[in-house]
Symmetry: C2
Subunit: 362 residues, 2 copies
Amino acid sequence: MTEVGLAKEQLDTPVLWVDLNILERNIALLVEHFRRAGVNWRPHVKGVKVPELAHMLVDAGAIGVTCAKLGEAEVMAAAGITDILVANQVVGPRKIERLVRLARTADIKVAVDNAENVNALSQAATEQQVEIGVLVDVDTGMNRTGVQPGPAVVELARQVHAASGLRFLGLMAWEGHTLVHKETDVKHGAIVRAVELLTKMAADCEAAGLPVTIVSGGGSGTYKVTPFLPNMTEIQAGGAIFSDVAYSGWGVETTPCLFVRSIVTSRPAPDRMVFDAGYKALPAWIAQPKPIGIDHIVKYSTSAEHGVITLSEPNLQIKVGDVFDFVVGYTDSTLFLHNQLYGIRNDVVENVWTVSARGMLT
Amino acid sequence: MTEVGLAKEQLDTPVLWVDLNILERNIALLVEHFRRAGVNWRPHVKGVKVPELAHMLVDAGAIGVTCAKLGEAEVMAAAGITDILVANQVVGPRKIERLVRLARTADIKVAVDNAENVNALSQAATEQQVEIGVLVDVDTGMNRTGVQPGPAVVELARQVHAASGLRFLGLMAWEGHTLVHKETDVKHGAIVRAVELLTKMAADCEAAGLPVTIVSGGGSGTYKVTPFLPNMTEIQAGGAIFSDVAYSGWGVETTPCLFVRSIVTSRPAPDRMVFDAGYKALPAWIAQPKPIGIDHIVKYSTSAEHGVITLSEPNLQIKVGDVFDFVVGYTDSTLFLHNQLYGIRNDVVENVWTVSARGMLT
């Protein structure tokens, strides 16, 4: 039974849906933003996961996609996306074998921050006669993965450049640590300092005779600043196509368009209502979802299967069976929980997309 | 390609696996525990989700299963589980239609706490000529769903008993609010007080001439106390079959047997290591996962795709490519993220189960 053509009201809850009018407007804004900045756009799809949406982004002007996991990249490549950066370390013989296989069907690029991993990638690529594009991952302050800025970056880049089966393409970093700053000018300064560490390393590599064609970074939380900094070639911001409560707090100016629709299952007290969306459907982990049409919320809590809203004053209007749309708290901790994403335009279902890259954890 | 018979070491990461020897021992311990208490066991499978495991529990002596969502119940019924309690409110015409359909193929029981919902259930069941078992949900202090203890419970029970198409079976509650107490005797007292509210309501219903055959409650966090309190007829504890870091803290005495195996993808500093399991595979939401074989952890953090461990002292032994097993932090916020659960005995894969009820959110 296809649900295309149904009214939004006819869908069972909880259901994840995207407002297509807003989504298209968001994508157009981002494309124009990056065009003005003169950078390429390689949207991260770890929080998008639907190949049809990835194609929509490429059709709008993205040069390809960024993935976090090899499994996601396999889904995207199988769906016909040809230019894919796995912005993460691919480690271990089983994954490297899969990466090499994938390199036969798509232009695959991968991040590295470790000499032995470079050797393993080179050996596998050489044996299987494929070429894998490589970016050196630089830690510009995030304190997660990556080589510390300095001679070690150039050294690893040189190793990659010299390795058979690998093609040194440049550098990448994610300045995600700058999102902690609430004040615009403080955050701006932190982004500039982080990105300069990356572009300085790119200059050092070039000075050492290494051909840098890609300098990649910039997420949705920094997309307004990073693209305009000199010598960045591409931006990975992806979640900004949806936006959400968290992104709105991080200065993302696109309009939230990803929602979970949920029904009131219990009204146990005048100041309390219970929904059929707990943390398995609509988590409040990183930011609290925002129900449209419910005010005076003093507490929003989730257990596995229940969302509970407590109000500061009694509400006798909202009844068991009423349905509300919630603006998602953080898209990247929500979308991947659902099997389907509904594309809705003017309250009618236009698409029922399978979240194909869901659960592609390896 | 079947992975049955592979060594654990041959599996790609991150991978969710259960130690079958420990699992079987845990199940036997729980069966014996509830047998001694003289109560039925109806394990909650919201955190189990694999029908083959549900069958294992029923084969060991459980009378049926408890589900949180109708979608889970549909998966369990389709797999041949015949006695199912949906310990949650089923609300709205679409879900009630599904519930009625399900009642044709399995003995379905559902929780109610609202008169209009009872009317809607009765009308649908009568029209479709099925009978649905009903338990009145009582709020014994959890402050989530349920009727407040008092005359309103008996009133709703009377309505159910009189309603055509419905069969009043008894009462249920979840005394989950007692888990906040760390001290054993304080927690014990809180459980006793909560459960007495429930059993008192059951006595009131019987005094009003209503036939109470089921008084259901007790989760993994209270399974040591609740079964031994008078007039409880069945216990819903399910997660205790696995146990985990959170349950260990809540006094669950079964042995943790659910693990996520993850590979070190980056060693950016002597005191930091990065794994390929972030919150999409191994969340630290409710309790922090515990890696086996890594000591001196001062910080465990997760982003979407990375797990990061910071140590209090340098470690130069652990290298990129090393693989560790993590005891899951909280099974019910972890298992449902995975597409497969591997059953492993003596380091060899014996089962590759599909997590069939994954994503059954409606």
